[in-house]
């Protein structure tokens, strides 16, 4: 698994570091941190003090975040510990935490990096005060969430996650998405609500078969979710109960009903209106 952790210099990015560390500890994923700066801007160090438009020292921010992230792992036992070259220590599993600076439009660079690095998950923090945006770059999290081809976790700053809502599509439930939800439940020690979309009585039996499988899956992981059936026509009303969940997870893959219901423009609206963090599974 490869995680792309997209950051800027603001507090919501810094506050997402412990979460990424816990994700790393649970999944042993390769983690790539990415910071971007707009073309024509560069750090004080890079410009030698004479840059065209000096914003922040992105390299320093990234280096600080990198250190903070590494500090979360056991320096000896963790797969992220550096192998001892002197002793030619090559046994065990070694995973990477790398850092990258890119120049250009932040959303576009994040999407390009995720594609080039074949990432499975993009993690991005955002300001809950500014309707899920980045303070100096606007709707970057919304763009990334809407346009990425992999899963995206958008973390709202200072929103505790005690309850997770998982919107599953009865037509297609992938093992990967279930495991990702399990990870989140474990990670946040949260309760899980599973909502299943229903379209009519005729497909009820088909849904029940899937649900039975799902209940067995989670029960076997010692997770006891609340199951709730919701008619497609009531979905927006249901999701508007925004204070109920700290994290809303939705399966947005191509064959998904949710993918059809929430194309990227509608999804952005949903993310802006919702006060919860969002996990979009693809």
């Amino acid at each position: 698994m490869r995680i792309l952790f997209a950051v800027d210099e603001h507090s919501y990015s810094a506050k997402t570091i412990p979460l990424v560390a816990r994700l790393g500890n649970n999944t042993w994923a390769d983690i790539r941190m990415l910071i971007t700066h707009k073309a024509g801007t560069m750090s004080a160090a890079e410009s030698g003090g004479a840059g065209k438009q000096i914003m922040v020292d992105t390299s320093k921010v990234l280096s600080d975040y990198h250190q903070q992230l590494l500090a979360n792992f056991d320096p000896v036992a963790s797969p992220y510990s550096q192998p001892n070259q002197a002793e030619n220590e090559t046994f065990g599993i070694h995973k990477e935490i790398t850092a990258q600076v890119r120049e250009g439009n932040p959303a576009r660079e994040i999407l390009t990096e995720a594609k080039e690095e074949e990432c499975d998950l993009i993690v991005i923090g955002c300001s809950s005060q500014d309707k899920c945006s980045w303070r100096d770059a606007g709707k970057v999290p919304l763009w990334v969430a809407g346009e990425a081809t992999c899963s995206v976790l958008v973390m709202q700053e200072d929103k505790p996650i005690n309850k997770i809502l998982c919107c599953l599509d009865h037509d297609y439930i992938s093992q990967d998405s279930l495991e990702m939800i399990s990870q989140m439940v474990t990670l946040f020690n949260a309760d899980l609500d599973i909502v299943v979309l229903t379209e009519g009585e005729d497909i009820r039996q088909k849904i029940e078969e899937k649900l039975a499988w799902l209940v067995n899956y989670y029960n076997s992981h010692d997770i006891f979710p609340f199951i709730e059936l919701v008619k497609l026509s009531s979905l927006e009303a249901f999701l508007s109960q925004k204070t109920r969940w700290g994290l809303v997870a939705m399966w947005m893959g191509k064959p998904s009903i949710l993918g059809r219901l929430f194309p990227s423009n509608k999804l952005a609206r949903l993310l802006k209106a919702n006060e919860s963090s969002m996990l979009l599974l693809r």
């Binding site: 309760d191 609500d193 909502v195 029940e208 649900l211 039975a212 209940v215 029960n219 006891f224 979710p225 609340f226 199951i227 709730e228 059936l229 919701v230 008619k231 009531s234 249901f238 109920r244």
Partner: protein, 267 residues
């Protein structure tokens, strides 16, 4: 030891109900009698009359018996040695009511998958079974771990009527219990808590004096229905009097994903 009548269908709601009751079995013994009323409409048109018709009915009964036995086996209910399932023909509500009258049952259990839309729950409240039952009904909507505790919920008129049922059914249950008295006020957007309302506490105390454990929490809440409903969501079991479908309590219980124990007005 309580005598339980459990209605089963071959569906997920019944599977969840069985798992929930198996969980409760670890805390107190039940004598479980299962019952199933086949839906003859699903079997197609009944053929002929006399012998031919009876043979068809026998076939339906036998198929249903096998189906329910398989479900009980699959969900491991058989480890609690329930009686063999009773497969009865007729109008479901009337058949179950009559079975409850004939047997010495303390509680009736059935499963219902929880829906955001309250229709299915309210339809149950309006059914002959729920309107005429004289035993508490445990409606299992989800499988919830018992360590989430029991919530006894009612308004000022009903909360105290639940005490006798509570003591009768769960006196020895070692699970934390919360009492929530609701005062509905739709004029306000906010909810106000009256922690440890002395009137409620003193009345509950009287009933509790015979029991060793005191409720974990006693709360009174005043506010609009929707906000109060948010407080009735995170328990292993919510206990209430059976409301009529137009009461605010019905709306609250319909939106709760927890298993609900609905008690009749009189014992």
């Amino acid at each position: 030891m309580h005598n339980v009548l459990m209605a089963l269908q071959n569906d997920l709601a019944s599977s969840i109900a069985i798992r929930f009751i198996c969980q409760m079995e670890e805390l107190g013994r039940f004598n479980i009698q299962t019952v199933h009323v086949p839906d003859l409409d699903k079997e197609g048109d009944a053929p002929g009359v006399g012998f031919v018709h009876r043979a068809w009915e026998d076939g339906v009964l036998e198929n249903a018996r096998q189906e329910i036995s398989r479900l009980m086996q699959k969900e491991n209910l058989i480890r609690y040695r329930p009686m063999p399932p009773r497969i009865l023909l007729g109008e479901r509500d009337q058949v179950i009511l009559s079975e409850l009258l004939q047997g010495d049952y303390d509680i009736f259990i059935e499963g219902l998958l929880h829906s955001f839309e309250p229709d299915a729950f309210l339809k149950k409240l309006e059914s002959d079974l729920y309107r005429n039952i004289s035993r508490p009904i445990l409606m299992v909507k989800n499988l919830v771990k018992l360590n989430r505790g029991i919530q006894v919920v009612g308004d000022q008129d009903t909360i105290f009527s639940l005490l006798p049922w509570f003591f009768k059914l769960w006196k020895d249950l070692d699970v934390k219990t919360e009492f929530l008295t609701c005062q509905f006020d739709d004029q306000s957007d906010e909810i106000v808590f009256l922690e440890n309302d002395t009137h409620v506490i003193s009345t509950i105390e009287d009933g509790w004096s015979r029991s060793s454990t005191f409720p974990y929490k006693v709360k009174t809440v005043k506010g609009p229905e929707m906000r109060v409903a948010e407080l009735v969501r995170d328990h292993a079991l919510v206990m209430s009097m059976i409301p009529t479908s137009w009461e605010k309590m019905a709306g609250i219980l319909a939106t709760s994903p927890c298993p609900v124990l609905l008690c009749p007005r009189t014992q």
